[in-house]
Symmetry: C2
Subunit: 250 residues, 2 copies
Protein backbone atom coordinates (compact mmCIF):
# COMPACT_ATOMS: atom_id res chain seq x y z
CA UNK A 1 0.00 0.00 0.00
CA UNK A 2 2.87 2.34 0.67
CA UNK A 3 4.22 2.70 -2.84
CA UNK A 4 5.68 -0.76 -3.24
CA UNK A 5 6.51 -0.27 -6.86
CA UNK A 6 9.84 1.40 -6.53
CA UNK A 7 11.98 -1.59 -5.73
CA UNK A 8 12.68 -2.16 -9.36
CA UNK A 9 15.06 0.57 -10.31
CA UNK A 10 16.64 3.58 -8.72
CA UNK A 11 14.74 3.29 -5.47
CA UNK A 12 14.32 6.82 -4.28
CA UNK A 13 13.87 6.23 -0.60
CA UNK A 14 14.59 2.71 0.64
CA UNK A 15 12.83 3.41 3.90
CA UNK A 16 13.21 5.57 6.93
CA UNK A 17 16.40 3.76 7.79
CA UNK A 18 18.62 5.69 10.09
CA UNK A 19 22.34 5.44 10.49
CA UNK A 20 23.36 2.89 13.08
CA UNK A 21 25.21 3.89 16.17
CA UNK A 22 27.98 1.55 17.25
CA UNK A 23 27.81 -0.05 20.62
CA UNK A 24 26.13 -3.45 20.65
CA UNK A 25 25.41 -6.15 18.16
CA UNK A 26 25.00 -4.36 14.91
CA UNK A 27 23.43 -7.22 12.91
CA UNK A 28 20.61 -7.67 15.40
CA UNK A 29 19.72 -4.02 15.31
CA UNK A 30 19.76 -3.87 11.55
CA UNK A 31 17.72 -7.04 11.35
CA UNK A 32 15.30 -5.38 13.71
CA UNK A 33 14.92 -2.36 11.48
CA UNK A 34 14.45 -4.36 8.31
CA UNK A 35 12.17 -6.82 10.07
CA UNK A 36 10.05 -3.95 11.29
CA UNK A 37 9.70 -2.67 7.74
CA UNK A 38 8.39 -6.09 6.74
CA UNK A 39 6.17 -6.75 9.73
CA UNK A 40 4.51 -3.38 9.43
CA UNK A 41 3.93 -3.89 5.76
CA UNK A 42 6.14 -1.17 4.37
CA UNK A 43 7.90 -3.94 2.50
CA UNK A 44 5.15 -6.05 0.98
CA UNK A 45 5.37 -9.87 0.81
CA UNK A 46 7.20 -10.90 -2.31
CA UNK A 47 8.81 -7.55 -2.71
CA UNK A 48 12.54 -7.42 -3.26
CA UNK A 49 14.75 -5.91 -0.62
CA UNK A 50 17.51 -3.49 -1.55
CA UNK A 51 20.78 -5.17 -2.45
CA UNK A 52 23.28 -5.97 0.24
CA UNK A 53 25.64 -3.44 -1.23
CA UNK A 54 23.05 -0.70 -1.09
CA UNK A 55 21.95 -1.66 2.39
CA UNK A 56 25.51 -1.59 3.65
CA UNK A 57 25.89 1.91 2.31
CA UNK A 58 22.51 2.95 3.65
CA UNK A 59 23.23 1.77 7.18
CA UNK A 60 26.87 2.75 7.06
CA UNK A 61 28.15 -0.70 7.95
CA UNK A 62 30.02 -3.37 6.07
CA UNK A 63 28.40 -5.97 3.91
CA UNK A 64 29.23 -8.69 6.43
CA UNK A 65 26.95 -7.09 8.98
CA UNK A 66 24.16 -6.71 6.47
CA UNK A 67 24.58 -10.31 5.44
CA UNK A 68 24.37 -11.48 9.03
CA UNK A 69 21.26 -9.38 9.56
CA UNK A 70 19.61 -10.85 6.48
CA UNK A 71 20.66 -14.32 7.58
CA UNK A 72 18.86 -13.74 10.85
CA UNK A 73 15.71 -12.61 9.07
CA UNK A 74 15.92 -15.62 6.80
CA UNK A 75 16.23 -17.84 9.82
CA UNK A 76 13.13 -16.26 11.28
CA UNK A 77 11.40 -16.86 7.99
CA UNK A 78 10.73 -13.23 7.18
CA UNK A 79 12.80 -13.21 4.01
CA UNK A 80 13.97 -15.68 1.41
CA UNK A 81 17.13 -15.19 -0.59
CA UNK A 82 17.88 -16.44 -4.05
CA UNK A 83 21.44 -16.40 -5.19
CA UNK A 84 21.99 -14.11 -8.09
CA UNK A 85 18.57 -12.53 -7.71
CA UNK A 86 18.07 -10.94 -4.35
CA UNK A 87 16.30 -11.13 -1.03
CA UNK A 88 12.51 -11.11 -0.86
CA UNK A 89 10.01 -10.69 1.91
CA UNK A 90 8.10 -13.94 2.32
CA UNK A 91 4.46 -14.78 2.77
CA UNK A 92 3.46 -15.50 6.28
CA UNK A 93 2.40 -18.97 5.21
CA UNK A 94 5.80 -20.17 4.13
CA UNK A 95 7.69 -19.60 7.33
CA UNK A 96 9.68 -22.64 8.32
CA UNK A 97 10.27 -21.93 11.95
CA UNK A 98 7.81 -21.18 14.69
CA UNK A 99 8.37 -18.18 16.81
CA UNK A 100 6.07 -16.62 19.36
CA UNK A 101 6.66 -13.09 20.47
CA UNK A 102 6.21 -13.05 24.18
CA UNK A 103 4.55 -9.66 23.99
CA UNK A 104 1.60 -11.12 22.12
CA UNK A 105 0.73 -13.25 25.11
CA UNK A 106 0.00 -10.27 27.30
CA UNK A 107 -3.19 -10.14 25.31
CA UNK A 108 -5.57 -12.40 27.14
CA UNK A 109 -7.32 -13.71 24.04
CA UNK A 110 -3.99 -14.73 22.57
CA UNK A 111 -2.99 -16.39 25.80
CA UNK A 112 -6.23 -18.34 25.83
CA UNK A 113 -5.63 -19.44 22.25
CA UNK A 114 -2.27 -20.85 23.19
CA UNK A 115 -3.73 -22.65 26.17
CA UNK A 116 -6.42 -24.11 23.93
CA UNK A 117 -3.66 -25.41 21.70
CA UNK A 118 -1.84 -26.93 24.59
CA UNK A 119 -4.85 -28.86 25.78
CA UNK A 120 -5.08 -31.66 23.19
CA UNK A 121 -1.31 -31.98 23.06
CA UNK A 122 -0.99 -32.55 26.79
CA UNK A 123 -3.88 -34.99 26.82
CA UNK A 124 -2.51 -37.03 23.97
CA UNK A 125 0.93 -36.92 25.54
CA UNK A 126 -0.42 -38.37 28.76
CA UNK A 127 -1.99 -41.21 26.82
CA UNK A 128 1.19 -41.95 24.92
CA UNK A 129 3.22 -41.69 28.09
CA UNK A 130 1.03 -44.34 29.66
CA UNK A 131 1.97 -46.66 26.82
CA UNK A 132 5.64 -45.90 26.39
CA UNK A 133 7.06 -44.72 29.72
CA UNK A 134 10.18 -46.33 31.08
CA UNK A 135 11.16 -46.96 34.65
CA UNK A 136 13.46 -43.98 34.50
CA UNK A 137 10.58 -41.77 33.41
CA UNK A 138 8.57 -42.75 36.46
CA UNK A 139 11.55 -42.17 38.70
CA UNK A 140 11.99 -38.68 37.36
CA UNK A 141 8.29 -37.95 37.74
CA UNK A 142 8.35 -39.03 41.36
CA UNK A 143 11.42 -36.96 42.02
CA UNK A 144 9.76 -33.89 40.55
CA UNK A 145 6.60 -34.51 42.53
CA UNK A 146 8.74 -34.65 45.61
CA UNK A 147 10.15 -31.26 44.82
CA UNK A 148 6.67 -29.87 44.31
CA UNK A 149 5.39 -31.01 47.66
CA UNK A 150 8.64 -30.33 49.43
CA UNK A 151 9.50 -27.54 51.80
CA UNK A 152 10.34 -25.07 49.03
CA UNK A 153 6.84 -25.30 47.74
CA UNK A 154 6.23 -21.58 47.83
CA UNK A 155 9.34 -20.49 46.08
CA UNK A 156 9.96 -20.39 42.39
CA UNK A 157 11.13 -23.95 42.74
CA UNK A 158 7.58 -25.18 42.90
CA UNK A 159 6.72 -23.46 39.66
CA UNK A 160 9.84 -24.79 38.00
CA UNK A 161 8.93 -28.24 39.17
CA UNK A 162 5.46 -27.92 37.71
CA UNK A 163 6.96 -27.07 34.36
CA UNK A 164 9.44 -29.92 34.70
CA UNK A 165 6.64 -32.38 35.47
CA UNK A 166 4.83 -31.64 32.24
CA UNK A 167 8.09 -31.74 30.34
CA UNK A 168 8.83 -35.17 31.73
CA UNK A 169 5.42 -36.44 30.76
CA UNK A 170 6.17 -35.26 27.24
CA UNK A 171 9.54 -36.99 27.38
CA UNK A 172 7.89 -40.19 28.53
CA UNK A 173 6.05 -40.42 25.22
CA UNK A 174 9.43 -41.26 23.66
CA UNK A 175 8.34 -38.89 20.91
CA UNK A 176 10.84 -36.12 20.37
CA UNK A 177 8.27 -33.83 18.80
CA UNK A 178 5.93 -33.94 21.76
CA UNK A 179 8.83 -32.90 23.92
CA UNK A 180 9.81 -30.17 21.49
CA UNK A 181 6.38 -28.68 20.96
CA UNK A 182 4.93 -29.15 24.43
CA UNK A 183 8.09 -27.91 26.10
CA UNK A 184 7.92 -24.86 23.92
CA UNK A 185 4.24 -24.14 24.44
CA UNK A 186 4.19 -24.86 28.15
CA UNK A 187 7.20 -22.63 28.69
CA UNK A 188 5.53 -19.75 26.84
CA UNK A 189 2.45 -20.13 29.00
CA UNK A 190 4.41 -20.17 32.21
CA UNK A 191 6.43 -17.17 31.15
CA UNK A 192 3.29 -15.27 30.25
CA UNK A 193 1.76 -15.96 33.63
CA UNK A 194 5.00 -14.99 35.26
CA UNK A 195 5.24 -11.77 33.29
CA UNK A 196 1.67 -10.92 34.25
CA UNK A 197 2.85 -10.86 37.84
CA UNK A 198 0.41 -13.60 38.64
CA UNK A 199 3.02 -15.73 40.27
CA UNK A 200 0.87 -15.80 43.35
CA UNK A 201 -1.80 -17.42 41.25
CA UNK A 202 0.70 -19.88 39.90
CA UNK A 203 1.84 -20.84 43.36
CA UNK A 204 -1.75 -21.38 44.32
CA UNK A 205 -2.16 -23.60 41.30
CA UNK A 206 0.85 -25.60 42.29
CA UNK A 207 -0.50 -26.10 45.77
CA UNK A 208 -3.96 -27.10 44.74
CA UNK A 209 -2.86 -29.33 41.97
CA UNK A 210 -0.31 -31.56 43.60
CA UNK A 211 -2.98 -34.16 44.01
CA UNK A 212 -3.88 -33.85 40.36
CA UNK A 213 -0.27 -34.31 39.36
CA UNK A 214 -0.02 -37.42 41.48
CA UNK A 215 -3.15 -38.73 39.79
CA UNK A 216 -1.57 -38.16 36.40
CA UNK A 217 1.57 -39.93 37.49
CA UNK A 218 -0.35 -42.92 38.78
CA UNK A 219 -2.45 -43.13 35.66
CA UNK A 220 0.66 -43.13 33.50
CA UNK A 221 2.26 -45.75 35.69
CA UNK A 222 -0.81 -47.93 35.36
CA UNK A 223 -0.26 -48.06 31.62
CA UNK A 224 -3.87 -47.16 30.86
CA UNK A 225 -3.87 -44.44 28.21
CA UNK A 226 -7.54 -43.58 28.66
CA UNK A 227 -7.12 -43.09 32.36
CA UNK A 228 -4.02 -40.99 31.81
CA UNK A 229 -5.81 -38.81 29.29
CA UNK A 230 -8.70 -38.24 31.63
CA UNK A 231 -6.39 -37.32 34.47
CA UNK A 232 -4.52 -34.84 32.34
CA UNK A 233 -7.73 -33.39 30.95
CA UNK A 234 -9.17 -32.84 34.41
CA UNK A 235 -5.97 -31.24 35.55
CA UNK A 236 -5.74 -28.79 32.69
CA UNK A 237 -9.39 -27.84 32.81
CA UNK A 238 -9.04 -27.20 36.51
CA UNK A 239 -5.86 -25.20 36.00
CA UNK A 240 -7.58 -23.08 33.38
CA UNK A 241 -10.53 -22.40 35.62
CA UNK A 242 -8.23 -21.31 38.42
CA UNK A 243 -6.94 -18.50 36.25
CA UNK A 244 -10.43 -17.66 35.03
CA UNK A 245 -9.84 -19.15 31.63
CA UNK A 246 -12.83 -20.64 29.91
CA UNK A 247 -11.91 -23.39 27.48
CA UNK A 248 -14.00 -25.26 25.03
CA UNK A 249 -14.27 -28.91 25.87
CA UNK A 250 -15.97 -31.58 23.91
Amino acid sequence: MTNPGHANKANVTVADFIQIRRGEHLPARIAGQIGKEISEGRIAPGEKLPTEHLLSKTFGVSRSVVREAIAQLRNEGLVETRQGVGAFATDVERRHSIRIEQDNLTDRASFRSLFQLRLPLEIEAAGLAALHHTVEDLTKLDETLGRMSGADKWTDQGIVADLAFHRQVAAATQNEYYLMFLGFVAERIHLAIHAARETAVLEQIVEITIAEHVAIRDAIASGDPVKARNAMRSHLIGAAQRIDLELEIF
Copy 2:
Protein backbone atom coordinates in the same frame (compact mmCIF):
# COMPACT_ATOMS: atom_id res chain seq x y z
CA MET B 1 47.21 -27.32 -3.12
CA THR B 2 44.89 -28.57 -0.44
CA ASN B 3 41.80 -26.71 -1.43
CA PRO B 4 39.04 -28.32 0.60
CA GLY B 5 36.32 -26.45 -1.22
CA HIS B 6 36.93 -28.31 -4.43
CA ALA B 7 38.13 -31.56 -2.96
CA ASN B 8 34.97 -33.30 -4.03
CA LYS B 9 34.74 -36.82 -5.29
CA ALA B 10 35.01 -37.77 -8.89
CA ASN B 11 31.79 -37.18 -10.75
CA VAL B 12 29.60 -40.23 -10.65
CA THR B 13 27.48 -40.65 -13.71
CA VAL B 14 25.18 -43.26 -12.22
CA ALA B 15 21.66 -42.23 -11.33
CA ASP B 16 22.26 -42.11 -7.62
CA PHE B 17 19.57 -39.95 -6.13
CA ILE B 18 21.39 -39.18 -2.94
CA GLN B 19 21.20 -35.48 -2.37
CA ILE B 20 24.27 -33.61 -3.48
CA ARG B 21 22.85 -30.46 -2.02
CA ARG B 22 25.43 -28.22 -3.57
CA GLY B 23 23.13 -25.23 -3.37
CA GLU B 24 21.77 -26.10 0.02
CA HIS B 25 23.14 -23.18 1.96
CA LEU B 26 26.39 -24.07 3.61
CA PRO B 27 25.84 -22.18 6.88
CA ALA B 28 22.53 -23.95 7.46
CA ARG B 29 24.13 -27.33 7.09
CA ILE B 30 26.91 -26.47 9.51
CA ALA B 31 24.44 -24.98 11.94
CA GLY B 32 22.53 -28.22 11.70
CA GLN B 33 25.59 -30.27 12.53
CA ILE B 34 26.58 -28.14 15.47
CA GLY B 35 23.00 -27.94 16.63
CA LYS B 36 22.78 -31.71 16.54
CA GLU B 37 25.85 -31.98 18.71
CA ILE B 38 24.13 -29.77 21.25
CA SER B 39 20.70 -31.36 21.02
CA GLU B 40 22.08 -34.83 21.48
CA GLY B 41 24.15 -33.77 24.42
CA ARG B 42 27.60 -34.25 22.99
CA ILE B 43 28.12 -30.59 23.78
CA ALA B 44 26.81 -30.06 27.28
CA PRO B 45 24.90 -26.92 28.25
CA GLY B 46 27.31 -24.22 29.30
CA GLU B 47 30.17 -25.87 27.53
CA LYS B 48 32.29 -23.79 25.21
CA LEU B 49 32.20 -24.45 21.52
CA PRO B 50 35.40 -24.66 19.48
CA THR B 51 36.65 -21.33 18.23
CA GLU B 52 35.42 -20.01 14.93
CA HIS B 53 38.89 -20.37 13.50
CA LEU B 54 39.09 -24.01 14.51
CA LEU B 55 35.58 -24.72 13.28
CA SER B 56 36.33 -23.17 9.93
CA LYS B 57 39.34 -25.43 9.58
CA THR B 58 37.37 -28.45 10.76
CA PHE B 59 34.53 -27.99 8.30
CA GLY B 60 36.78 -26.74 5.54
CA VAL B 61 34.88 -23.52 5.03
CA SER B 62 35.66 -19.92 5.63
CA ARG B 63 35.11 -18.16 8.89
CA SER B 64 32.23 -16.18 7.42
CA VAL B 65 30.23 -19.34 6.96
CA VAL B 66 30.96 -20.52 10.47
CA ARG B 67 29.98 -17.14 11.82
CA GLU B 68 26.69 -17.23 9.97
CA ALA B 69 26.03 -20.73 11.28
CA ILE B 70 26.71 -19.65 14.85
CA ALA B 71 24.56 -16.58 14.36
CA GLN B 72 21.73 -18.86 13.33
CA LEU B 73 22.18 -21.03 16.39
CA ARG B 74 22.26 -17.94 18.57
CA ASN B 75 19.06 -16.78 16.96
CA GLU B 76 17.46 -20.11 17.76
CA GLY B 77 18.66 -19.79 21.30
CA LEU B 78 20.94 -22.81 21.26
CA VAL B 79 24.13 -20.88 21.87
CA GLU B 80 25.18 -17.62 23.43
CA THR B 81 28.28 -15.74 22.36
CA ARG B 82 30.44 -13.39 24.37
CA GLN B 83 32.91 -11.24 22.55
CA GLY B 84 36.45 -12.06 23.41
CA VAL B 85 35.46 -15.24 25.19
CA GLY B 86 33.66 -17.66 22.94
CA ALA B 87 30.38 -19.33 22.13
CA PHE B 88 28.57 -21.46 24.70
CA ALA B 89 25.75 -23.98 24.47
CA THR B 90 22.60 -23.03 26.35
CA ASP B 91 19.93 -25.07 28.06
CA VAL B 92 17.22 -26.64 25.99
CA GLU B 93 14.60 -24.82 28.02
CA ARG B 94 15.85 -21.48 26.81
CA ARG B 95 15.00 -22.01 23.18
CA HIS B 96 12.47 -19.57 21.89
CA SER B 97 11.86 -20.99 18.47
CA ILE B 98 11.07 -24.39 17.02
CA ARG B 99 12.87 -25.79 14.06
CA ILE B 100 12.71 -29.19 12.44
CA GLU B 101 15.52 -30.38 10.25
CA GLN B 102 13.96 -31.89 7.18
CA ASP B 103 16.67 -34.53 7.05
CA ASN B 104 15.44 -36.07 10.26
CA LEU B 105 12.14 -36.89 8.63
CA THR B 106 13.73 -39.26 6.15
CA ASP B 107 13.92 -41.54 9.14
CA ARG B 108 10.63 -43.35 9.18
CA ALA B 109 10.33 -43.51 12.95
CA SER B 110 10.81 -39.79 13.18
CA PHE B 111 8.26 -39.21 10.48
CA ARG B 112 5.78 -41.35 12.35
CA SER B 113 6.42 -39.37 15.52
CA LEU B 114 5.56 -36.16 13.75
CA PHE B 115 2.42 -37.67 12.32
CA GLN B 116 1.45 -38.84 15.78
CA LEU B 117 1.85 -35.27 16.97
CA ARG B 118 -0.26 -33.95 14.17
CA LEU B 119 -3.14 -36.28 14.95
CA PRO B 120 -4.61 -34.69 18.10
CA LEU B 121 -3.99 -31.21 16.76
CA GLU B 122 -5.94 -31.82 13.58
CA ILE B 123 -8.76 -33.49 15.45
CA GLU B 124 -9.09 -30.69 17.96
CA ALA B 125 -8.84 -28.16 15.17
CA ALA B 126 -11.73 -29.77 13.36
CA GLY B 127 -13.83 -29.55 16.51
CA LEU B 128 -12.96 -25.91 17.07
CA ALA B 129 -13.57 -25.15 13.43
CA ALA B 130 -17.05 -26.58 13.74
CA LEU B 131 -17.72 -24.08 16.49
CA HIS B 132 -16.04 -20.98 15.14
CA HIS B 133 -16.05 -21.14 11.35
CA THR B 134 -17.32 -18.20 9.37
CA VAL B 135 -19.11 -18.13 6.07
CA GLU B 136 -15.90 -17.15 4.37
CA ASP B 137 -14.16 -20.19 5.83
CA LEU B 138 -16.73 -22.51 4.32
CA THR B 139 -16.45 -20.75 1.00
CA LYS B 140 -12.71 -21.24 0.94
CA LEU B 141 -13.07 -24.89 1.92
CA ASP B 142 -15.51 -25.50 -0.92
CA GLU B 143 -13.25 -23.75 -3.35
CA THR B 144 -10.32 -25.91 -2.31
CA LEU B 145 -12.40 -29.05 -2.55
CA GLY B 146 -13.32 -28.01 -6.06
CA ARG B 147 -9.64 -27.75 -6.94
CA MET B 148 -8.99 -31.20 -5.48
CA SER B 149 -11.68 -32.90 -7.55
CA GLY B 150 -11.05 -30.76 -10.61
CA ALA B 151 -9.37 -31.75 -13.80
CA ASP B 152 -5.88 -31.05 -12.48
CA LYS B 153 -6.29 -33.74 -9.89
CA TRP B 154 -3.17 -35.58 -10.90
CA THR B 155 -0.79 -32.71 -10.90
CA ASP B 156 0.91 -31.16 -7.96
CA GLN B 157 -2.11 -28.92 -7.69
CA GLY B 158 -4.09 -31.66 -6.04
CA ILE B 159 -1.43 -32.11 -3.38
CA VAL B 160 -1.21 -28.39 -2.83
CA ALA B 161 -4.96 -28.27 -2.45
CA ASP B 162 -4.86 -31.03 0.14
CA LEU B 163 -2.40 -29.02 2.17
CA ALA B 164 -4.49 -25.90 1.70
CA PHE B 165 -7.60 -27.69 2.92
CA HIS B 166 -6.04 -28.62 6.22
CA ARG B 167 -4.62 -25.14 6.55
CA GLN B 168 -8.05 -23.65 6.05
CA VAL B 169 -9.53 -25.91 8.68
CA ALA B 170 -6.88 -24.63 11.05
CA ALA B 171 -7.69 -21.07 10.05
CA ALA B 172 -11.37 -21.69 10.69
CA THR B 173 -10.63 -22.26 14.36
CA GLN B 174 -9.98 -18.51 14.57
CA ASN B 175 -7.00 -19.52 16.69
CA GLU B 176 -3.76 -18.17 15.30
CA TYR B 177 -1.68 -20.80 17.04
CA TYR B 178 -3.52 -23.70 15.50
CA LEU B 179 -2.84 -22.15 12.12
CA MET B 180 0.78 -21.56 13.00
CA PHE B 181 1.53 -24.99 14.44
CA LEU B 182 -0.62 -27.13 12.17
CA GLY B 183 0.49 -25.27 9.08
CA PHE B 184 4.03 -25.89 10.15
CA VAL B 185 3.63 -29.56 10.99
CA ALA B 186 1.46 -30.44 8.01
CA GLU B 187 3.88 -28.76 5.65
CA ARG B 188 6.81 -30.72 7.09
CA ILE B 189 4.90 -33.96 6.59
CA HIS B 190 4.01 -33.16 3.03
CA LEU B 191 7.56 -32.15 2.24
CA ALA B 192 8.88 -35.36 3.73
CA ILE B 193 6.52 -37.45 1.63
CA HIS B 194 7.46 -35.42 -1.39
CA ALA B 195 11.18 -35.80 -0.74
CA ALA B 196 10.72 -39.56 -0.41
CA ARG B 197 9.48 -39.50 -3.99
CA GLU B 198 6.21 -40.96 -2.87
CA THR B 199 4.27 -38.34 -4.74
CA ALA B 200 2.49 -41.11 -6.55
CA VAL B 201 1.29 -42.31 -3.19
CA LEU B 202 0.25 -38.82 -2.28
CA GLU B 203 -1.75 -38.45 -5.43
CA GLN B 204 -3.45 -41.70 -4.67
CA ILE B 205 -4.26 -40.39 -1.24
CA VAL B 206 -5.74 -37.28 -2.70
CA GLU B 207 -7.93 -39.29 -4.99
CA ILE B 208 -9.19 -41.69 -2.40
CA THR B 209 -9.76 -39.12 0.24
CA ILE B 210 -11.80 -36.51 -1.55
CA ALA B 211 -14.89 -38.06 -0.03
CA GLU B 212 -13.32 -37.89 3.40
CA HIS B 213 -12.48 -34.25 2.93
CA VAL B 214 -16.05 -33.52 1.91
CA ALA B 215 -17.23 -35.30 5.03
CA ILE B 216 -14.96 -33.12 7.15
CA ARG B 217 -16.25 -30.02 5.45
CA ASP B 218 -19.87 -31.01 6.01
CA ALA B 219 -19.26 -31.88 9.64
CA ILE B 220 -17.64 -28.48 10.23
CA ALA B 221 -20.48 -26.76 8.44
CA SER B 222 -23.00 -28.58 10.64
CA GLY B 223 -21.45 -26.96 13.68
CA ASP B 224 -21.17 -30.23 15.54
CA PRO B 225 -17.68 -30.47 17.02
CA VAL B 226 -17.94 -34.14 17.88
CA LYS B 227 -18.93 -35.03 14.36
CA ALA B 228 -16.13 -32.90 12.94
CA ARG B 229 -13.60 -34.53 15.22
CA ASN B 230 -14.71 -38.00 14.21
CA ALA B 231 -14.54 -37.12 10.54
CA MET B 232 -11.04 -35.74 10.88
CA ARG B 233 -9.93 -38.70 12.96
CA SER B 234 -11.19 -41.18 10.40
CA HIS B 235 -9.52 -39.28 7.63
CA LEU B 236 -6.13 -39.13 9.29
CA ILE B 237 -6.18 -42.74 10.40
CA GLY B 238 -7.06 -43.73 6.85
CA ALA B 239 -4.36 -41.52 5.42
CA ALA B 240 -1.80 -43.04 7.76
CA GLN B 241 -2.81 -46.55 6.82
CA ARG B 242 -2.47 -45.74 3.15
CA ILE B 243 1.21 -44.99 3.66
CA ASP B 244 1.64 -48.03 5.90
CA LEU B 245 1.87 -45.96 9.03
CA GLU B 246 0.57 -47.55 12.19
CA LEU B 247 -0.62 -45.03 14.72
CA GLU B 248 -1.72 -45.49 18.27
CA ILE B 249 -5.35 -44.64 18.71
CA PHE B 250 -7.32 -44.60 21.92
